[in-house]
Structure formats: C-alpha cells, structure tokens
Symmetry: C2
Subunit: 336 residues, 2 copies
C-alpha cells in the first residue's frame, strides 16, 4: 500500500511530465508543488514508486517518467474528469448545430473532438445492428433491375442494386413495398429476418424468385453493414507526439488506416474506457492511449467515439471533452 504522500508524488510527476514532456526530478517537484518536504524525502518516495513499477528512469541519472502502470493508477485513483470550460461548451454547440445530414454530423464531430483535445479523433457511425428501420424503398430502375434503399432511425441510408431473375410488375412491386414496410418499420435489425421470412408465400410463384432476391439483399445489407464505418481526423496532431517521431508516428498512422484495428481500439463497453499503452495489445500503439465512450440517440449507446493520443496526455481534460461531445452528439441524433 502506498502512503498518501507517495500517491501525491505520483500525481505530481504525471502532471509535470504531461506538461513539460521531460523527465521530472525531485528538486523540480518540491518547487512546483508545495509538498512541504525536502527533495531527499521525495527521492526516497520515488525510489519506492519505481520499485512498484509506477515510474521509471530513461537513463541512470535522469528524472522519472510515469510507466503505463503509473498512468493507470493515476487515471483510476488520482484523477477526476475535468468538466469543460464554458467557452469550450459554447464551441461544441456552435460546431455541431446546423449539421445537415448524418455524414455532416459525424464529420463535424470528428473535427470538433480533434480540435478540443488536440489529438486524433475517431468517430464510429451509428451502428446498424442496434438501430431500427425507418423505411425500406424499392425502385425499379429497369424491368429486371431494382434498387433497394434502407433508411435507419439514425438517418443513415444504404442502397443496393438487385438483378431480378424475372421482370416484376409495378403493382406487385408496390404491394411488396407496402408489405415489407408494414412488417419491418420501427423494428430492430436483429428482428427483421424472422419478420420477413414468410413473405414470398403471399405472392405468385412467378414473382417469388424476385421477392427472395430482394429479401436476401436486404438481410445481407443488414448483416454486412455491421462492419461499421468510421471517420477519423486530426492526424496532424500526431506531429506533436514527441521528438523521436518518425519511429513513433509511422505505426500509429498505419494502425489508424485499418478499420479493424480502430474498431478494436474503441472497444465494446459503452461506458468511458481508457486504454493505456500496452493495454491496447497492438505493438505499434504501445505509446498511445485511447479514450473512448459510447454515444447514442436515446439511453442506449449505438456507437462509440474517442481520441487517440500519446500515453503522455492530459487524461482529465481529454476524458471531459470526450464525454461532453458524446453527450451532445447523442442529443443531436435524438432530435433528427
């Protein structure tokens, strides 16, 4: 168990290191924080913290920097979530109001988050799996060619081409459209398959091939698009990463280009998550941390957003910004 003061020392080390980007020594600590003890005492505490693995020295005779474990303790026990300043709150509303469609909302959110945190922002499009169907539209582009348009409650639109085995009449198409909508509108995606299963039976044998093709495409769209889309921004903030940068920045940029990696980074949990360094289980990201949180139009989270930055980041501030943006985006989505 660490004494109260030693925790205080760790907090001071984290704060100073985040500010200066340089290893912090015992003397500097006593000067910048009023710890009321001498540097020698601090040195003893630092030795203890180092034994426990919370801090480390880059070189034998340099100051200390926090380890991943040190940041973890800081985030869990020593730091709160810093609420935003009122100019920052105003920036959020200014930035997000007036978004015209879903792409716009997501795009603005990314830019906003990147700007507020001065880090790389990642925003996942509202997930289709937890969304409900607002409307399904079928358009005859040619006698045997249809376009399926799926509209979700979060404002997302997906379209697919369908080549029909046989031409389909306008009235049949209208009938299909009506039946389809009456069954699935307002339903969750996961419910849809069982709801439309028996639809072909209501039609003439001639048309059943086409009906099946339509249903197949619809279900495919629902499943396939569970592979979620993402938008990222603020990559230029990576240049503020550190001095030794080419080595650090390269793998990060690579990781950011892979959707799969990013989705893993954002995580499953819908609450606020902080992953520090190696906790990301990705070697290219061993000196980056990810702060993410779920957001949604109602009580329930439909997607996640977050930021990626150096492990040496301002956790309380970042967490505050991420949480505030997520809340506000949720409101925007609920309104539209």
């Amino acid at each position: 168990m660490l004494s109260e003061r030693r925790l205080e020392v760790l907090r001071a080390i984290v704060q100073d290191y985040v500010g200066t980007e340089e290893p912090v020594g015992s003397k500097a600590l006593t000067e910048r924080h009023n710890l009321k003890v001498s540097p020698a005492t601090i040195r003893n505490d630092m030795a203890a913290l180092e034994d426990e693995g919370f801090i480390a020295q880059p070189h034998t005779s340099a100051g200390r920097i926090p380890t991943d474990k040190g940041y973890r303790l800081f985030v869990d026990k020593l730091a709160g979530v810093k609420p935003l300043s009122s100019p920052e709150r105003r920036a959020i509303t200014n930035f997000l109001d007036g978004a015209v469609d879903l792409d716009d909302v997501v795009g603005r959110t990314v830019r906003l988050l990147a700007q507020l945190t001065r880090q790389v922002a990642v925003v996942q499009y509202p997930s289709l799996t937890r969304s409900t169907v607002r409307h399904v539209e079928l358009l005859a582009l040619a006698p045997a060619r249809l376009m399926l348009v799926l509209i979700t409650d979060t404002g997302r639109v997906e379209q697919r081409m369908i080549d029909c085995p046989a031409p389909i009449g306008d009235t049949v198409l209208a009938d299909l459209r009506a039946r389809l909508n009456s069954r699935v509108v307002g339903q969750r995606f996961t419910e849809v398959p069982s709801l439309v299963q028996d639809l072909p039976e209501a039609f003439d044998a001639d048309d059943r091939g086409t009906i099946s093709a339509v249903l197949a495409t619809l279900l495919e769209t629902l499943v396939e698009e569970t592979e979620e889309r993402l938008m990222i921004g603020g990559t230029s903030n990576l240049t503020r990463f550190g001095h030794d940068f080419p080595l650090t920045i390269r793998p990060v940029l690579e990781a950011l280009e892979e959707q799969v990696v990013l989705l893993k980074l954002l995580g499953e949990d819908s609450g606020m998550t902080v992953r520090i360094g190696h906790e990301n289980h990705h070697e290219g990201l061993s000196s980056t941390s990810v702060v993410s949180v779920g957001y949604g139009s109602g009580d329930e989270a439909v997607a996640k957003l977050g930021v990626v930055g150096p492990t040496r980041m301002d956790y309380p501030g970042t967490m505050g910004a991420v949480r505030a943006v997520a809340r506000y985006v949720g409101q925007i989505l609920a309104e539209s």
Copy 2:
C-alpha cells in the same frame, strides 16, 4: 536551348535523386549511366543546368538536386508515362472487383492507389453537378414530415428531411413523386431547376406550400452537394518523406485535412495534371507534388483522383498508376 546531352544529364540526375534521395555528383553520374563523357564534362553541363535554374546544390560542396523547374522539364519533355506491370494490372482488378456500393468503390480505390504508388491517395466522389438524376423518392415519415432521397447515375444517394407547412395526403404525394420523376429522371442537375419550376401550379393551393418546400430542398441538395466529398488514404506513406520530417510532414497532414485545399489540389482540368512543389500555391505543400486525373463512367469525367507525394517522386510510375486506376474505376462505374 539546352543541348541533347544536357537534357540527358538532367534526366539522369532526376532518376538518381529519386532513387537514392541523396544529392548526386558528377562522378556517380558517369558511373551509373553510360554517358560516354568524363566527369569534368558533366560538371560543365551541371553548371549550365544550374545557371538555368533546373538544379541546385544544397551546400557549396555537395552534389546537385533537381529544382521544381527541373522536375517540370523532366515531366514535360523527358519522361513518359510508364505502363503498369502485369502483376500490377492484376492487382487493380482483384482489388476493385466485388465492390458492393459507391462508398466501397471509392474506399477500395483509395487503398489501391495508396498501395500502388506508396503515396497518399485522394479520390473525389463522383461529382453531382455533372451527374444525372436516376430517381427521386419522397417518403412520408410523419403526416407533416417528408424525407427526400435523391439517387444519381453514379450510385450516390443523398437524403434530406423536410418539415412541411401543412400535412400532405398520400395520393397527392404519389402524384408529386410521379410528376417529379417523369420530369427530372435522366436529366443533368443543372437542368433540373428550370424543369420543375412550374410544378406547384398543377396542385391545389393547400398543397403548394409543401410542394415548394420539397422543390426548394431538392434544388438546395443539388447545389449544396456540389461541395464535393473526398476520401484519402495512405497517410502513413508520408513517413517515407525525408529525414527532416517533422517540419515537412506537419503542414502536409494539415493540408490533407482541409477539403477545400484538397479540391484545389486536384484541379479543374479533367486530363492528367502534375503539379510540382510551388505550383500548388500552398506553402505547406512546397515540397510535395500532386498527380491527378479525371475519371468518369462514360467519356466524360465526373470527378478526379490522384496522389500526393514528395516532389522527389517517381513521376512516370506514379502517372502510370494513376491513369490506370482512373480508367478502371471508370469502367466499374459504367457497369453499375
């Protein structure tokens, strides 16, 4: 006028510098290219080329590197467009076939271009202004709330919410939908305004407010979305930029985040365009070149794509890859 051999020397300098990233000296030139003259002669030629501003020395006693003007001459007069190797051609088809929707096509194209050229790829979504309308759909989400869905011949879908001044009946809506489509389907966006202008007159006075709202939203969508969308990828290739990188990479990343800048970079001309260094008229991009070309589903270009890389790039190879990808994407779009 430069003699034949001096042009040859310039070509050799460009090729070597692109390969080695290091200033190239007279001796190295005679060794690696069989120029059949001595280093001393080359030195004279180099002095002449330097006087004309095609090459420069970073330091008094170092080799020469090409200037922007030198690259320009190289691209215009000395270099052809290198056709792709057959594995590369195969890669293109493998990569692009099986794309499921427009987002997918654009996404795959970006990744493909980035991979082929090992540079940053930029692909503009097919432009709405030069496209034609494939279908307009109107959906009643609530009695006085409509959703307008616009589908273009390039497969792009745009949707907008419309709050109606008064509720609108289903039959009126169907009538409006039919009339709207019969007038605008197959037409270019620029033609649409004049074609729908007198539509409200065909309806009862009660509904005219709503009809006007719908038309206004439609026209607004057409205009507003001329603000084109882009997708970029391969930013991690920026790390291969040079040794002095933090200074170089920062402004490039920043520029890449601004749509407006990117659109300017791609340029207007639908033919193959190469912009070298300062020709981009953007200080952050003074050591980058942009190779871009228009692509489209038919004879006509509907959008542009290209790559952004260091001025020291393999121009013939890059131009070959960009052109080949543009052609193939055009085919894909024409098929769907």
